[in-house]
């Protein structure tokens, strides 16, 4: 068991039947040396995010989750098959399990699957990924008109904003947390 004042961003706790990952924890000292903690929590089952407050001494079941490094093999009938790089065991995840990670998922990509018991509860992408631009409007010479970015569809189907000089077939590096163009990838 952990007290609220000991919890940090990234910790996972169990309340009732639900698992929550702590996105943010702020501690404040109240009167009489009593304190409280404000936490931003993400429900790993529903994905909903809530702001909550606890006494610093409130106790939580601390949950240790397993991380498995797994490679994406293929998709069939709405299920995405991953293989453990060490044990070669396979695991199927659905769209809901993957969430926004689908925007960047391509075959042979390795990412961390977060597992509680045998159940996947989340995925963690690499901080940056390299993907090819599948389509973008060609830049017309001299036509800036104040624009500095244009839309580009990546090979995964996801659309981001890229500088005007990027073209179809260019490989670009993208920040997966912010969906921002980082630079060209060689």
């Amino acid at each position: 068991m952990k007290e609220a004042q000991d919890l940090r961003s990234g910790n996972t706790v169990k309340m009732g039947n639900d698992l929550f990952i702590i996105l943010k924890a702020i501690y404040n000292k109240g009167a009489r040396n009593a304190s409280s903690v404000k936490m931003k929590l993400k429900n790993l089952s529903t994905g909903s995010i809530s702001e909550t407050v606890y006494r610093a001494s409130d106790k939580f079941d601390n949950v240790v989750l397993e991380r498995k490094s797994m490679q994406f093999l293929c998709e069939a009938n709405g299920f995405y098959t991953f293989m453990d790089n060490e044990t070669f065991e396979q695991m199927d995840l659905n769209k809901d399990d993957l969430g926004d990670a689908l925007n960047y998922l391509k075959e042979e990509m390795t990412l961390d699957i977060i597992v509680y018991g045998e159940k996947p509860v989340g995925v963690e992408l690499p901080a940056q990924v390299d993907l090819v631009i599948e389509y973008t409007e060609p830049a017309v010479k001299g036509d800036t008109g104040g624009k500095v970015l244009k839309a580009a569809r990546l090979e995964t189907g996801f659309e981001i904003q890229v500088p005007l000089y990027c073209n179809i077939g260019d490989k670009v590096r993208v920040n997966t947390a912010t969906d921002e163009f980082v630079g060209r990838a060689n």
């Binding site: 309340m15 009732g16 929550f20 702020i26 404040n28 000292k29 109240g30 009167a31 009489r32 040396n33 009593a34 409280s36 404000k38 929590l41 809530s50 702001e51 909550t52 407050v53 606890y54 006494r55 001494s57 409130d58 079941d61």
Partner: protein, 395 residues
């Protein structure tokens, strides 16, 4: 009204504020919702006995002003079994509600409210009415943060009495009667400065000397054992006169009376009849503000003088009610000096400078009255918490 029962749990740590606020909340809530059954569960009756009359220290169940007072220390196992949870449960000041009660409450559709300490700090607004997820069951819990701004939970109002009848020098009858037994006359209007003193243990050397030099005559009404200890140690150093009984002293033009506690209502009324109030704790601070008289607040001492953070927050909040910065700056300076203690102690002389405070009583009164007006019209805790409770779905 969609609810009919409220239980408030209070854990007495020290002093009288915990019990005092708990009782005040129950009284005020019951006044707003007379059809609601209100119970106050308390684990230390002594604190309550000091500020009320007609209660005893032992009985497990008593009635006070329509509120059922339950003495947790005297509850029998049969009593515990017979108690069912209320629809609204107030957890006062982060106290721990007994497990036997929570085991039942969690599985009802009740509303649990953590009623936190009053603070002027800005972070409290961000915590106000935030949910605190429970480990099981269907009950819901929220944090409620009392405060001095619109975005917080407000302050507990005074009981209705007639402030227009409470003018300067016209003390409540029990106070006047007690002062007469100490040899005072029953007319205090001619005294140049009248103040209350209710603080943690500290020295009062400069307070007495500056009262003596500023006013032709003054009367200090001192409450609480800690105030008395500090005052006695100060007076010993100053070698002043005292009467037999060791409760009335004279230092130059300053008359000092060490008084017992009176009922909560009497003390509330007394604050309206003075020229200034030096008070401690969150509840007396609220009463002093609502009395609209100049005040200084002695905050609860915390590790590494953390109380100064609370004091600065209060000063920052109150700054907008001052007419000019120099007057506010003078107020802030004495507030910091008044609270600049690491420990409760009165063995050494004090060095605060009260001269600006006493020379600017009118300006401080003006600021306090503006603050009081805002509190009364925008920060009524009972109105705000009732609004929150009424919007809650108990089904």
């Amino acid at each position: 009204m969609r609810f009919s029962t409220l239980d408030l749990f209070c854990h007495v740590i020290d002093n009288y504020g915990d019990a005092g606020v708990a009782l005040r909340f129950c009284r005020a809530f019951r006044q707003k919702h007379p059809a609601c059954t209100v119970r106050l569960f308390i684990d230390e009756m002594k604190a309550l006995l000091e500020i009320t009359s007609s209660l005893d220290a032992v009985s497990p169940l008593q009635n006070l002003d329509g509120i059922t007072i339950i003495n947790l220390q005297s509850l029998t196992p049969e009593g515990i079994c017979s108690i069912g949870p209320a629809e609204i449960i107030i957890e006062a000041f982060a106290c721990h509600i007994p497990e036997w009660y929570l085991d039942k409450a969690y599985f009802t559709k009740c509303l649990i409210i953590n009623l936190d300490y009053l603070s002027a700090e800005s972070w409290t607004a961000g915590y106000h009415l935030k949910e605190s997820l429970l480990p099981c069951g269907s009950a819901k819990k929220y944090f409620y943060m009392p405060g001095f701004t619109d975005g917080t939970g407000g302050i507990l109002p005074n009981e209705p009495f007639l402030p227009c009848q409470l003018h300067r020098g016209a003390f409540p009858a029990p106070v006047t009667e007690h002062l007469c037994t100490l040899g005072y006359p029953n007319d205090f209007h001619s005294i140049a400065a009248i103040g209350t003193l209710f603080t943690y243990e500290k020295s009062f050397d400069t307070l007495l000397s500056q009262l003596n030099t500023t006013f032709a005559s003054s009367l200090l009404l001192c409450f609480g054992n800690k105030t008395h200890i500090g005052m006695r140690n100060t007076l010993k150093r100053l070698k002043c006169l005292h009467s037999p009984g060791d409760t009335v002293f004279l230092y130059g033009t300053v008359s000092i009376a060490l008084l017992p506690f009176f009922e909560q209502r009497i003390f509330d009324q007394l604050l309206y009849t003075t020229d200034f109030n030096f008070i401690r704790g969150e509840d007396s601070l609220t009463r002093a503000i609502l009395a609209g008289r100049p005040f200084l607040w002695n905050a609860y001492l915390q590790d590494e003088k953390y109380q100064l953070v609370k004091v600065e927050a209060l000063c920052s909040m109150i700054s907008t009610y001052f007419e000019d910065y120099p007057t506010f700056s003078g107020f802030r300076k004495i507030m910091i000096e008044f609270n600049n203690q690491q420990f409760e102690c009165s063995s050494k002389p004090s060095d605060e400078d009260f001269s600006f405070f006493f020379e600017n009583l009118k300006n401080f009164e003006h600021a306090t009255q503006k603050l009081c007006y805002f509190m009364e019209h925008h920060c009524n805790l009972i109105e705000k918490i009732s609004e929150f409770i009424n919007a809650f779905d108990f089904t």
